[in-house]
């Protein structure tokens, strides 16, 4: 048995021995490196002397002597043509050097299956692959990789990578652009702390966040004007000369997408507010790659109007006010109901008892009003109820009967909202104190905009 496999065994032993020697060599080398911190290790490679000098100049060498970092140091040859706009400016230099230093230890083999996002010392995020490091659209290859120092890992790379601005900075820079002006004007002051903040950043997306990825669409003057003209009728307000906050939001919120499409943008993308936007590459005027995404300057904006001005559904159980005691108000659990709940107000003995729903997101346009109100045999009599608009005495549609076991939406009537957000819908009982006739029941109200 042993004889039969003797040769095999010998070969295995031989392989084992030869493998051993290699490993020992590596081990010894590693041990030498491990006595040095990253700065010392960089110094020890003469081909990295320029980068070592830049480290000292930017003051980051002190930080790099302790802690845990990964350095992708460009060779002297690579750094030879570094422009003076970087070397001459202290801030720019610090950002530049920081763009080659990542937090924590990152070894190339960790990225062999999928790329690893590395947080860099300047706040940006780079992407490590098995054979390269990428900062947005610039990649560097490794001359050597994974050299361990006392406090981190050193790579030698063949080119440098200039840090990009983030989208927010790009937006600030493009101050001639109408979208830029619009967003920058959305500044508000907190009434308690008196601190200023940008409402767009707060409500839509914080485009200065380096850890997120966005695609942002900017429009040129002509495209913006068209878009604004289309939107304005839906955001009418009582201050004709000023740009209202709802309109500013309406114009900007669907320019942001949560994926960074540096290339190959799909033809339909979904904005952060779930509005479908068509992307036509032929309309791209300019592409600006930013550190946390990409900005497309476009000469046309193509969106779906019915997403932009959506139908509104108001659940009966989420009312804003009731006209009398809450005693007779019941939220019923019903499996047929939307959200599995409906509203039943009965035995209230109050003529014209009513329940109010504010509709702050109503656009200034014409809506068709529907309700789903079902008498599921639980209340033994037909009941009649009505919808009032804005005031309980404004009853344009009259009384409507709630039918037994009707799970269909019932058309109530049309209403033109005058100003954005100014709509109250009031569900009103008959003006009798007779409890046989004054029951209210409502699953939901629905407002469907009419596009003419």
């Amino acid at each position: 048995m042993i004889k039969k496999y003797k040769n095999h065994l010998l070969i295995i032993i031989f392989i084992g021995l030869s493998a051993c020697s290699d490993q020992w060599e590596e081990h010894n080398n590693a041990a030498q490196d491990l006595n040095n911190n990253l700065v010392q290790l960089i110094r020890s490679d003469a081909d990295l002397s320029t980068f070592a000098d830049l480290l000292v100049e930017s003051g980051l060498d002190k930080q790099l002597s302790s802690g845990s970092y990964t350095v992708w140091a460009p060779t002297n040859a690579a750094l030879a043509d570094l422009p003076s706009s970087i070397t001459g400016d202290e801030e720019a230099l610090k950002l530049f050097v920081g763009n080659h230093i990542g937090y924590q230890e990152n070894l190339s083999y960790q990225a062999d299956e999928e790329p690893v996002r590395v947080k860099m010392m300047n706040g940006k995020v780079s992407v490590l692959r098995e054979n390269s490091i990428t900062s947005v659209d610039e990649s560097a290859s490794f001359e050597y990789a994974d050299r361990l120092a006392k406090n981190g890992v050193l790579y030698k790379v063949d080119t440098y990578m200039v840090p990009k601005k983030n989208i927010w900075e790009v937006l600030q820079e493009e101050s001639d652009n109408p979208i830029s002006q619009l967003v920058m004007n959305m500044t508000m002051t907190d009434e308690l702390t008196m601190e200023k903040y940008n409402y767009f950043q707060y409500d839509v997306a914080d485009l200065s966040n380096e850890d997120s990825t966005y695609t942002f669409i900017m429009l040129d003057d002509a495209a913006y004007e068209t878009f604004q003209m289309e939107m304005e009728p839906y955001f009418k307000d009582t201050l004709p000369d000023e740009m209202s906050m709802p309109l500013s939001l309406g114009l900007t919120k669907d320019l942001v997408f949560t994926t960074s499409y540096y290339e190959d943008v799909p033809d339909t993308i979904l904005s952060v507010d779930s509005v479908r936007v068509a992307f036509h590459p032929e309309n791209v005027v300019r592409q600006i790659n930013a550190s946390n995404g990409v900005v497309y300057m476009m000469n046309d904006f193509d969106y779906k109007l019915s997403d932009k001005i959506p139908a509104i559904k108001i659940e009966g159980e989420y009312f804003d006010a009731i006209s009398g005691s809450s005693g007779p108000v019941n939220i019923r659990a019903r499996s047929w109901a939307s959200n599995e709940r409906d509203l039943l107000v009965y035995n209230h003995s109050t003529p014209s008892y009513h329940v109010t729903y504010n509709v702050p997101q109503a656009h200034s346009t014409k809506y068709k009003i529907y309700w789903l109100a079902n008498n599921d045999n639980y209340w033994p009599r037909n009941n009649w109820q009505s919808i009032a608009i804005d005031s309980v005495s404004n009853l344009p549609y009259g009384n409507k009967m709630v039918e037994f076991n009707n799970l269909e939406e019932v058309f109530i009537g049309e209403h033109e909202v005058q100003n954005y957000g100014q709509l109250k819908l009031i569900l009103k009982a008959e003006s009798t104190s007779n409890n046989d006739w004054n029951t209210l029941v409502l699953d939901y109200l629905k407002l469907v905009p009419v596009f003419e």
């Binding site: 005693g327 108000v329 019941n330 939220i331 019923r332 659990a333 019903r334 499996s335 599995e340 709940r341 039943l344 009965y346 599921d376 639980y378």
Partner: protein, 604 residues
């Protein structure tokens, strides 16, 4: 035992604070001078020797408390084994592999599944054996009286019997060790202790428990009543008749089982009607307790007005503080866990999805469907006990709630306190119904259904009854003990039977009764139908409390394996976990073939 170790620890701490260095030189010299062997051979004062432990009645009481302290450590295994293997609870994405294996019935010996480990059970058993021997010695040396001996003997024996029943239910064949042994690993020595099968074991346990001289609760004049660490002790000890009832139910001795459960249901009868509400309410699921334990609405139609808190309504069975007066109406056997003393309450970790919780287990789709298929009297289309047994009802991440109602992750995330309710009024009623349904008396299944549905008075009042005289109705006295219930309520002549307030399990949960379909006419058919009703109601009422696997296994063994197999199949096939769905059919055939037990794997 806990108390004891605490005292011992405290003393050793004191020892450390003695200024050692000062005396060490002198001590060394003196040892050198008088190094005679006798002098050094001092009995240790801080470690109790086994032979010197049992001195007086106080030691006996501490030993009994020690047994219970050890038993409290079984809570996690008990609930996990009895629920995760059955159909009402399933692992979440966060569950560890051992729980997934239990749920998927894929436990093999080599996995060392920590829940399928018999050792913790034997730790309690060996502790019991030690105490039993100690007690015997104390009696022989006249350190305690015969009465004192009998009370404690019966209690510790009952704990050991309970643990053995659990072992048998889950492992099928287990070594029956009844004497004090030095090494726990001797348990697994087949030459010392041959294994008994589940049915042999149950016969053995019945014989043993029947030989016990004292089946009542501890009398009120000893150290084992009152409260311990602020927790009332009256429901802390095992109810020996309840345990015997369980054993008889397993054995197939249904009249005796019913007798035993009935004694718990009648535990207020000795007080007489003069005792007031207690007489009618304790253990009777009565409407006068409705303020406390019924599914209740502030407003009939308003789902938001459902009483859903720790001190009102059905949920308060689990949320009520220890020792609170109404808790005695429903609690039979309850253990309290406190963050101030060991063992730690394990259920926050298993069930909560906040604070210290790891959310390893959740309600299965099977039980959610069961609750959702009920309709309450106010037409709400689910069983309110679903909301009240869980947290985050109706969301994608429902939690088992029964164990975590006293946990507040916001204000006191580290205070892991709660209860382990082993037996309560409803579980006893359901087991009584199961036993009665197996009896041969004509029409006895109607009594079982009355306990499930709306109570005895409703069920035994004929539809066409009118008038005042209820003498011949609203009772089951003609059946004789243990099935004789008097639920009469009449004014001419006056009747207020002890059970006149009884409202049944569904009645208490605001659910209409489920009546026997007219097409069921055969006696056997009726019995099966009633038994299925009991199984369903047990799920709705007792979900997650650790009753499920024993009940399904017991009925599967005597009736048909499909009782168990189909329900586990239902859980696995409805799971959102693809692996569970894939295993569903295989598990069904495994359970159909009678392969019910875990491997008895003893890790040395």
């Amino acid at each position: 035992m806990q108390k004891l170790t605490r005292i011992l620890k405290a003393q050793s701490m004191k020892m450390i604070s003695i200024p050692f260095k000062k005396y060490i030189a002198a001590a060394t010299i003196s040892v050198g001078l008088f190094s005679c062997s006798d002098m050094l051979d001092v009995e240790p004062t801080l470690e109790l020797d086994k032979d010197r432990y049992y001195q007086n009645q106080l030691d006996a009481d501490v030993a009994v408390m020690g047994v219970y302290g050890e038993m409290m450590k079984l809570a996690e295994q008990y609930v996990v084994l009895n629920e995760v293997r059955a159909d009402l609870m399933e692992p979440t994405m966060m569950a560890d592999a051992d729980l997934v294996d239990l749920s998927n019935h894929s436990v093999v010996a080599s996995d060392n599944n920590k829940y399928a480990d018999p050792k913790p059970f034997y730790r309690v058993i060996l502790n019991c054996n030690d105490v039993l021997e100690g007690l015997e010695r104390m009696r022989d040396e006249n350190r305690i009286t015969e009465d004192q001996y009998n009370q404690r003997l019966s209690d510790v024996a009952a704990v050991r019997t309970w643990v053995y029943l659990q072992l048998g239910i889950h492992f099928g064949e287990v070594p029956y060790v009844t004497k004090s042994i030095e090494s726990i690993d001797d348990v697994n020595n087949p030459s010392l202790f041959p294994k008994l099968s589940l049915m042999e074991l149950i016969d053995e346990l019945v014989e043993y428990m029947e030989s016990m001289p004292y089946l009542d609760a501890y009398p009120s004049n000893i150290g084992l009543v009152g409260s311990s660490a602020g927790y009332d002790l009256s429901t802390y000890f095992v109810n020996k008749r309840g345990l015997l009832g369980d054993l008889y139910l397993w054995q197939g001795n249904y009249i005796k089982a019913a007798e035993m459960f009935r004694t718990i249901m009648e535990s207020s009868t000795s007080m007489g009607p003069g005792a007031g509400a207690v007489y009618y309410d304790r253990m009777r699921l009565s409407w006068s307790s409705s303020n406390y334990f019924n599914v209740r609405y502030g407003k009939e139609n308003d789902i938001n007005s459902l009483f859903n808190d720790n001190i009102n309504g059905w949920r308060s069975i689990f949320g009520r503080p220890a020792g609170e007066r109404y808790s005695y109406d429903v609690w039979v056997w309850v253990m309290h866990y406190d963050s101030d003393f060991a063992p730690e309450y394990p259920f926050i970790r298993l069930f909560a999805n906040e604070g210290e919780g790891e959310y390893q287990l959740k309600p299965s789709q099977s039980i959610l469907d069961k609750w959702n298929s009920q309709t309450q009297w106010n037409n709400v289309e689910f069983d309110a006990r679903g909301i009240l047994s869980t947290k985050n009802w109706g969301t994608m991440e429902p939690e088992v709630g029964k164990f975590t109602f006293n946990y507040n992750a916001m204000s006191t995330p580290l205070q892991k306190e709660g209860k382990w309710i082993l037996e309560r009024a409803a579980s006893v009623h359901l087991k009584f119904a199961e036993a009665a349904n197996m009896d041969n008396l004509d029409g006895i299944s109607q009594l079982s259904r009355a306990l499930i549905n709306e109570g005895i008075r409703e069920a035994f009042t004929p539809d066409d009854f009118s008038g005042d005289d209820v003498t011949d109705i609203q009772n089951t006295l003609e059946y004789g003990a243990p099935y004789d219930f008097d639920a009469r309520q009449g004014d001419f002549p006056t009747y207020r039977g002890p059970w006149y307030r009884h409202q049944g399990i569904r009645g208490r949960a605001y659910l209409p009764p489920i009546t026997l379909p007219e097409d069921i006419t055969g006696v056997q058919e009726e019995k099966y139908w009633t038994e299925d009703l009991i199984i369903q109601e047990s799920a709705l009422e007792l979900a997650f409390e650790g009753h499920r696997w024993p009940q399904l296994l017991r009925i599967a063994m005597r009736r048909d394996p499909s009782v168990l197999a189909d329900r586990v199949y239902d859980k696995l096939s409805k799971s959102k976990n693809a692996e569970a769905v894939g295993r569903a059919a295989g598990v069904r055939s495994k359970l159909m073939s009678g392969d019910w037990f875990l491997p008895f794997h003893w890790e040395e």
